[in-house]
Amino acid sequence: MSQSSSSATVSAPAPADSAPVPALARAPRLPPVWLAQLLIVVLLFAAWEFAVRQGAVSAFLFGSPSGTAQAAWNLIVSGELWVHANYTLWASAAGFVVGTVIGTIPGLALWYSPYGAKVVEPFLVAINSVPKIAFAPLVILWFGTGVISKVALSVSLTAIVALLAAFQAAKDADPDIQRMLVSLGATKRQIFTKVVVPSATPYIISTFRINIGFALVGTVVGEFISSKYGLGHVIFVASSLYDLNTVWVGIFSLMALGFVLYAGVDVAEKRLLRWKDQTDATNFKL
């Protein structure tokens, strides 16, 4: 029906190709984002190197890009960088995973018992308000100087955040959807698995981003205090020797680790949340 009407009737004139399009969507021509980013990095390092060579900035206190590159090369060639980065990566990843699991599951489970939730809430808030890094010396005493203490520190930082986020997300599950399912005869358990868990998932995943940072903090602080390995250990030892270039190698390596872990969360998010409306206001012309 619609096909025949479009071909047979006179209808509105088709827009001619040559007609000038009104300047609605004419964005200013900007370089690609990656190029702008690269430019910023190059400029920063160039300025730093230049300032050090001119003597405006002390190479002793600030290091230099060329010195940092040399230090990085030495650590790569000796294989040390890989050993330390690997140690930090796995300790913080393990802390992140364990912390997320032992935080998220009880956080969601609190949905089951409003009474239990009311009882424990002030305790959770109290624990959350303590700077968890203050536990670091205790954790080292309890778990020793090995990798377990780094994982434990990362867990102590991430678990409470994951718990509070999961609990809040569970509480925010749409009450009307729950009512609708109840009217269809759903049990509490079905409401939990079919509404509470899926609707909390986006919040739980966005907490991953915060917790990746916390997991790295926990591990690195553990390495500062007492360790034989890890990027935190590299930074700590190098700074006590005033080897600023090696300190920078440690810092940039941590940055790279953070990047890798964040990218992992992005992949997880895209896979798990295909249903979510990804529109965001930055796509519009305002």
């Binding site: 009307d176 009217s183 269809l184 759903a186 509404v195 609707s199 249903w275 979510k276």
Partner: protein, 259 residues
């Protein structure tokens, strides 16, 4: 009235809420009924307790006194035996259209393989088959509400409770969905109770209309609507339509221009 047992009968139902400020009477001695396959509406001003009544029927609230009878047998509530549809479509955004429609049967433990075919039939009827694997975010408001209607009908409930299901839609979409609803429930022989603010919609769809008063909700009057057609669109052209409209406006104390 015929002597047959009504499909649903609510007798002398009352509900009070106890708040810190005192007791609020929400429903006061409400008695309504619906015959099998009948389409009845409840209209009333805001705060007349229409939604409370539905919450009681679905078992989300307990009533203080009164009886609910299904096929003449007393029930505490109708949980699991009613289809409940609200103004919000309540589609779960993390489920595809098909999975949303299937949820009622899934809760009962019906094997998916069995229910999928039936669900696809409904989706076909409602013109949603091409969207069965889409997420709700991709659908328009009218399509979403059609999916909600399919979800409500799929578990084959005895009674449909519709709480202003179309009031968030634009007029054309509403007319279209009203027609679709009327056709479907007539064909499947469903008993429907519609709660609405929209007098126009109530007359066009219903066989009987109950008017409730403002808080406390009391049954004010009951009207049998006799029109020559069950089509909501044609109903609006029926010569008796405007007379019903004026009558119900008066009942609700709405001033019409030529009253």
């Amino acid at each position: 009235m015929s002597v047959a047992t009504p499909k649903l009968e609510i007798r002398n139902l009352s509900k009070r809420f106890h708040t810190p400020k005192g007791t609020v009477n929400v429903l006061d001695d409400i008695s309504i009924n619906a015959a099998a396959g009948e389409f009845v509406s409840i209209i009333g001003p805001s705060g007349c307790g229409k939604s409370t009544l539905f919450n009681i029927l679905t078992g989300l609230l307990e009533h203080d006194s009164g009886t609910i009878l299904l096929d003449g047998k007393p029930q505490t509530n109708l949980r699991g035996r009613v289809g409940y549809m609200l103004q919000r479509d309540l589609l779960m955004p993390w489920r595809t259209v098909l999975d949303n429609v299937l949820v009622g049967l899934e809760l009962r433990g019906t094997p998916r393989a069995e229910s999928v075919e039936l669900a696809r039939e409904y989706l076909h009827t409602f013109g949603l088959l091409p969207f069965q694997d889409s997420y709700p975010k991709a659908l328009s408001g009218g399509m979403r509400q059609r999916a909600a209607l399919a979800r409500t009908l799929l578990p084959d409930p005895d009674i449909l409770l519709l709480d202003e299901p179309f009031s968030a839609l634009d007029y054309q979409t509403r007319l279209f969905l009203e027609g679709m609803l009327a056709d479907t429930v007539t064909q499947k022989g469903k008993t429907v109770i519609l709660v609405t603010h929209d007098i126009d919609e109530a007359i066009a769809l219903s066989e009987r209309i109950f008017v409730l008063s403002a808080r406390p909700g009391r049954l004010k009057s009951e009207h049998r609507i006799t029109l020559d057609t069950r089509s909501p669109l044609e109903a609006r052209h029926d010569s008796r339509f405007s007379a019903y409209f004026d009558l119900l406006c008066q009942e609700l104390d709405i001033q019409t221009a030529h009253a």
